[in-house]
Subunit: 371 residues, 2 copies
């Protein structure tokens, strides 16, 4: 067994503290990866605080991982020792259902859904309809740690020219916003709205811009207006002005082809629904919870849709990394030592980060020596 | 001017009573139509009771009309005197916006939207962004009357072989359920769910069946189970059993390609969202109001969508009439004299109709003579 060290929450109101835990060494087809960087995603906070009512403790969060391959298990040929690699929100899936066969592992329909990088299996054995626990484990531990072991199919390549630290958040914040833009066909010349300018939102602006769209950023923070323009937004609208914006757009007919809500909690979608063109879709990727009531009068009158989307596939995770390298875009990050993660999480909750904290995992050595 | 007689509500809590009112005679491109039959749609009740907060009184409802052409205005060549014709929810639109040009008049983006058959213009001049009142009138009067005048482009042909009385509800209940099934591509072999078994729902079952789908009807009324099977449903599920149904389906993977909610009021969509396949859509056509909160965890995890759809285009109104004639299907109707319309509306509200009341408009003569 591998003695790993990570930062864990022991219960829903605990701070993250150092924890020594065991990982199985790399088996056939698996890779052992030294973790170099891990992003701090809002989901980490939801999970630590048990806000989805499914957290298994101790909880070691982290699913935006950049690392280096240190050992390849038998038959693992996709990477070699020393390669710079990434791990996102999934480390395995059933690999046999229709979604997995089609390369949509994030929608795995196996008895336990995909295996989440932390707090997996996604669907606990007790809730699986067949009662099966196909992954043979009750919990997984994420990237706030020094080492992880992952099946090679769920490991991606960090392309040359991408800063390894900045590459980390692309694997959740990036792919989560990139995947729906690809699925709903965002293309050059489209008018795209992005609601919320946090970790996901700021990447959505950059990615939509790089896809050739004209981007409008909607934010409640007046102090993010300048930043939004710097990110590539052609227009910035304060959400309090949404009604004025709506009237202006209705008058000019300048409606949106696609709107993405990246706000990590319930918020009123109605002021944005009216901004969609006929047959256009507003996709919610931020809030995995009951949405505020949507007025179907606004939806039906222009045959609009409200949809949800979950992260992206492994192929899309690779695609968005390559896309970022090619277009020379990357998240705006602030690197912190892991000892500052609790303070950083408080700032994320307050929306007080520009725009993603990334933990430098070499800082764990200090805790390792203290143990 | 034409002295018309109809049944009108004078305020939001009045019964419908006879009213003599004036219609303009057929102008260029218009048809004067003697109304033979008119269906009683749940929307008529919403409008009479001002439940959408936009009713102009007096209100003469009715937008499921079968009639006979009695006079053609100058240049009106689409029909000739004596032709059996239909009028649905629209009698005009701006005819110049993108939606109108593409033949989607129901999504007219003109300053007053399409011109509704009653209580039009759809968007009152006061609410139109440009302030324009392009139709030059403040209210329209619907099909609970003996005569109507309509532009010929908004009049459809009642095909041979279709009972004229049964044809009436096809023009709202039929096209409203047919249009989204066509738009979202319902095809032979698809599993289709229909929520609610009223005027719209019972037509949705028949139409989906005729399209070759395997239909499951969801109803809260145990006494509609037999009727649902007679309509063509392969399965009937009582809504109280939706959770059991959900578990059964999840176990077998037998999920739906498309679900249509025809319930004319807010209801919980979450038990149905989990029944959709990945990338599938639940379309709400019944409730033009704020929907109950939808849990995005269920939506995002399979990239599902909730959408709305509004009636259908004029071309689709003709298409569904022809489709019904070809497949020998029609609404199950109960014909009433107009003097019974207030009692009938109460029964519609109670869900106590199998499945659509149609008013025989010859009964208006009695009121005409009494005036």
């Amino acid at each position: 067994m591998i003695d790993a060290i990570g930062y864990a929450a022991k219960h829903s109101f605990s701070r993250l503290k150092p924890l020594i835990f065991q990982r199985e060494p790399a088996g056939p087809g698996e890779l052992e990866i030294e973790i170099l960087y891990c992003g701090v995603c809002h989901s980490d906070i939801h999970q630590v605080k048990n806000e989805w009512s499914n957290t298994v403790y101790p909880c070691v969060p982290g699913h935006e991982i950049t690392g280096r391959v240190t050992r390849a298990g038998a038959g693992a040929t996709k990477f070699k020792v020393g390669d710079l690699v990434g791990v996102g929100c999934m480390i395995d899936s059933c690999r046999s259902c229709a979604s997995c066969q089609e390369g949509n592992e994030q929608y795995c329909e196996g008895p336990n859904s995909f295996l989440a990088t932390y707090n997996g299996p996604m669907l606990p054995a007790a809730q699986a309809t067949t009662g099966a626990n196909m992954y043979g484990r009750d919990n997984t531990y994420g990237g706030y740690s020094d080492v992880i072991v992952v099946r090679e199919e769920f490991v991606v390549r960090i392309p040359d020219g991408l800063d390894p630290a900045a590459a980390a958040p692309i694997q959740c914040a990036g792919v989560t916003t990139f995947s729906p833009m690809k699925h709903w066909g965002v293309k050059a010349g489209d008018k795209v709205g992005v609601i919320g300018l946090g970790g996901l939102g700021h990447m959505a602006v950059k990615l939509a811009r790089a896809l050739g769209a004209e981007v409008t950023a909607f934010t409640t923070s007046a102090d993010k207006e300048g930043a939004a323009v710097a990110l590539g937004a052609a227009h910035v609208e304060l959400e309090k002005d949404a009604k004025a914006q709506m009237e202006k757009m209705a008058a000019t007919g300048g409606r949106f082809d696609f709107i993405l809500s990246t706000v990590p909690e319930k918020h009123d979608l109605n002021p944005f629904m009216v901004l969609l063109k006929r047959d256009a879709t507003l996709v919610v990727v931020g809030a995995l919870e009951p949405l505020a009531p949507v007025n179907n009068q606004q939806v039906a009158f222009h045959r609009r849709s409200v949809a949800g989307s979950l992260i992206g596939s492994i192929a899309e995770q690779q695609e968005v990394l390559d896309f970022c390298a090619k277009h020379r875009i990357a998240p705006d990050i602030e690197i912190i030592p892991i000892q500052e993660v609790n303070a950083a999480m408080k700032k994320v909750e307050a929306g007080d980060v520009r725009f993603r904290y990334v933990i430098d995992m070499t800082s764990l050595k200090e805790d390792r020596e203290a143990v």
